[in-house]
Symmetry: C2
Subunit: 168 residues, 2 copies
Amino acid sequence: MRPRVAPSPDLSSSLSACIARRGLKSTRQRQAILGAFLASSGHVTVVDLLARARAADPGVSPATVYRTLRLLAECGLAKPQRFHGSPTMYEIVAGREHHDHLVCTRCGRVVEFEDARIERLQTAVARARGFTVTSHRMELYGLCRLCRPARPGRKAGSAGRRSRAKRR
Amino acid sequence: MRPRVAPSPDLSSSLSACIARRGLKSTRQRQAILGAFLASSGHVTVVDLLARARAADPGVSPATVYRTLRLLAECGLAKPQRFHGSPTMYEIVAGREHHDHLVCTRCGRVVEFEDARIERLQTAVARARGFTVTSHRMELYGLCRLCRPARPGRKAGSAGRRSRAKRR
DNA sequence: CTGAGTGCAAATTATTTGCATCTAC
DNA sequence: GTAGATGCAAATAATTTGCACTCAG
């Protein structure tokens, strides 16, 4: 429903720039895949992306999707994310800063967030253990507003994990 | 060097209990694998575990290691962890509470930690976005004390990621 | 004895790669 | 025209599974 990520044309030009800079070529397939990627909600699987790209251009092979995603990642436009048990998802990196994820274990919805307080504590905790942190990942799994049952007196047990709903 | 996790005999009995409860059998291979698992530093790959188990009993196949690890996980004694780019590691769950991980990107060392302040913030952040958190994962990647170069004026860039050293 | 467990090899799943062909520049 | 790109199929890598055989209880 709501457009979570504005399909900024900046990314297209970023890719063009990165392609030009490296002496690479702009092809029909790459356009289709990039288009499908940008039109996505921000997090797509390879399978999803292949289907979407094929809608625009039937002659796109899985291998090219993988190769293009790697290219996008190298250009800093996409980032692979491996959530819990689901296949690798690629997210749009629109020059945005680092962020972490809330993942609904029922509907699969992914919400991004960032919290400076947590980041500070992470750095502090690591330093206390002799580590210099260069990166981190944090994922919170649970039920989103829509999937949460309305029952008031819920136990916090390990119950809530249903199989994710697939959206394709 | 230092014994990170005491090879508590409790776990052996826990497994026995879980095996008995389910009407399963205690076999030579399972003993070897459990022994190797408990003798580990707390985080092992399947490859590692297979090698260690074979030291005790050469007739252990990979399939049995996988099957036994699944059994251990179902009994609540082991937990699979997928760190950054490394193969799945299994960690000993000695009835210990939840914890998160510091991972050295150079030597592969894994240090566990827990921080109530961070956990509280996680819950709060999630609630603010309409999520009820049931679980989470957090990994901090960086250099441990031993691997950190002594240079004072380091840049925080994306430099630090070398390939992990394997220990086998 | 008998059902659970095991080894092996084949099957799966996710992804990469070699190669002949094609095409953007 | 040529280096880079693509499709296909074969190759990897990690893990699971079918099946005949073995063994713990």
